[in-house]
Amino acid sequence: MTKRPRFGLYALVILSVVVSFLPIIWLVLTSLKTTEGIYAWPPQYLPDPFTLKNYINIFTNSPELLLYVLNSFIVALGCTVVALSFGGMAGYALSRLGMRRAGVLMVFILAVSMFPPVSLLPSLFQTFLNLGLLNTYTGLIIAHTGLFLPFTVWMLASYFATLPPEIEEAARMDGMGFFRIFWSIVIPLSWPGFVATGLIVFIFSWNEFPLALVLMTQNAMRTAPVGISLYPGEYAFPWETISTATVIAIVPVLIITAIFQKQIVGGLTAGAGK
């Protein structure tokens, strides 16, 4: 009875997985082709001949790619840590401490995040220039944090709202202060929320382009998306280099996602109540 509708569901899932993965699969395949293979007509679907030459070339010809990836990693990690710290505290205060007008503030925070980042660029650039924050990790971390903090606050606030308030009340009765409750009760119980939000913020920051392009002008400070975008030369569009570099830039994100995704699914509040 239930088999047929489930078969349809599986088909739909497989289809959507294929559709969303196709660009990435094509990217990986391209990175494994020779230049001739890339431009061959009719197009090659599987690399023929299969080659790792692109990967060897990219590390010998443009070793700065690893620097770009490292820069991205530092900025994304910094942004995630700062956004989770401030977003966590703000979200907790807004959702749990009975603040007046908390709802209005939440809407205000959301409204601020609706400014298109490009419109902020000129003033941001000038300000960062004056503050000496151009081409610094601190500068881009601050900029990214500002960009993604509203999202973090909203995500975490709605996660906190799902926690049973009695646990925090019991902690108050036991003698914990607000900060202690936040640190040793709320954060452990909201771990899946923090991991999920952190992952998304990390990926946002990793992929962010306009601010990274404008605020990091020195080659040594560029992040991966910006660095890779500058590969096309004046006369050629090196598909094999770009696809290879992109695959390399994806790997750290994939690893981090793989590590943390298991934790998102955990039902950590199980056992608190009935």
């Binding site: 009695e166 019991a170 009765m173 199980a270 056992g271 109540g273």
Partner: protein, 368 residues
């Protein structure tokens, strides 16, 4: 002495008065139950004693000290929550030890006290487990243990048994009773379950719409309900109510005319209408009408429900319907004709407008 005194305590949420003028002294070692339907303000009152809810008006004193603005942890109270509210990421031991750790009690003493409490509650084998690995009853024991370990002056219970299934609830209720007998600590217990209230309480406070309807021992609230609300709330199945009007001859007659009482055991004053209350277990069932006799009326069984030990009969006396509790063995069946007899000592009379019980008359109609 840990007397808890609530002096005209009130709680307002905006314009809504959740609790009004709550005035009560809870005696040392007393087990006080706050009983009432949901939204009656009983939980709010408890939470004001705990310090989880601010007090809008009035004074709260515990052991003689004013507590209105004192932090929950410094009030000397411990609370057991309805959904246990254990720390799910901490072991049973850590759950119970938390308050002591925060009070900087020496580790050896913490271990000793938690160990002793765990033994008292039969939790010794579970101390290293997480709450998720415990059954509902065990979790509630941990929650109680967490309160006991602190040796508080006052225990607060917020519907601690309502998440348990019926069987476990009865068991835990008895455990709570034994525990209170052993510890003798002042306890305030919120419930909407009248059986819990009747069995556990030294005194019951029945609340309705943010106001105290009656304070009394279980016996008093059952035998002498102060008003119609209490009368209907205490007792299961609920008390029968019927309106009576005084006729020209001074008799009290039901609206349908089939029930007439020569006199009522209460000071009815100049009222021409009153509401009569009689509990299902206080109506005597006779096999057949024995001819005209005082306070005896013929009736027909409209519905008979066997509960096991007891049976509930829905009786029709003319248009009037009365619920009667009889023994379960050989109970009258549907359609049977029989007679009922009322006992004047077990009749309650209420003012129709205010719902207040009318005082029993000095010249009470003598019981049969």
């Amino acid at each position: 002495m840990t007397e808890v005194k609530l002096d005209r305590i009130g709680k307002k949420y905006g314009a809504v008065e959740a609790v009004q003028q709550f005035d009560l002294t809870i005696r040392e070692g007393e087990f006080l139950v706050l009983l009432g339907p949901s939204g009656c303000g009983k939980s709010t009152t408890l939470r004001m004693i705990a310090g989880l809810e601010s007090i809008t008006s009035g004074d709260l004193t515990i052991g003689g000290a004013r507590m209105n603005d004192v932090d929950p942890k410094d009030r000397g109270v411990a609370m057991v929550f309805q959904n246990y509210a254990l720390y799910p990421h901490k072991s049973v031991f850590d759950n119970m030890a938390m308050a002591l750790k925060l009070q900087k009690v020496p580790t050896a003493e913490i271990e000793e006290r938690v160990g002793r409490t765990a033994e008292l509650l039969g939790l010794t084998d579970y101390l290293q487990r997480k709450p998720a690995a415990l059954s509902g009853g065990q979790r509630q024991r941990v929650a109680i243990g967490r309160a006991i370990v602190r040796t508080p002056k006052v225990f607060l219970f917020d519907e601690p048994l309502s998440n348990l299934d019926a069987k476990l609830r009865v068991k835990m209720r008895m455990e709570l009773q034994e525990l209170h007998d052993r510890l003798g600590a002042t306890s305030v217990y919120v419930t909407h379950d009248q059986v819990e209230a009747m069995t556990l309480a030294d005194r019951i406070v029945i609340m309705n719409g943010g106001v105290v309807a009656q304070v009394g021992t279980p016996r008093e609230v059952y035998d002498h309900p102060a008003d119609e609300f209490v009368a209907g709330f205490i007792g299961s199945p609920a008390m029968n109510f019927l309106d009576l009007a005084r006729d020209d001859t001074g008799r009290w007659v039901s609206d349908c005319g089939n029930l007439a009482l020569p006199a009522l055991p209460a000071d009815t004053g100049s009222r021409s209408r009153v509401r009569l209350g009689v509990r299902p277990e206080h109506i005597e069932v006779l096999p057949e009408a024995p001819g005209p006799a005082p306070l005896t009326y013929p009736a027909r069984v409209l519905l008979a429900e066997l509960l096991g030990a007891d049976a509930l009969l829905s009786l029709g006396i003319g248009e009037t319907r009365l619920l009667v509790r009889v023994g379960g063995a050989d109970h009258p069946v549907q359609g049977a004709h029989l007679a009922i007899r009322l006992n004047p000592a077990q009749l309650h009379v209420f003012d129709i407008d205010t719902g207040r019980a009318l005082p029993r008359s000095a010249a009470e109609v003598p019981p049969r």
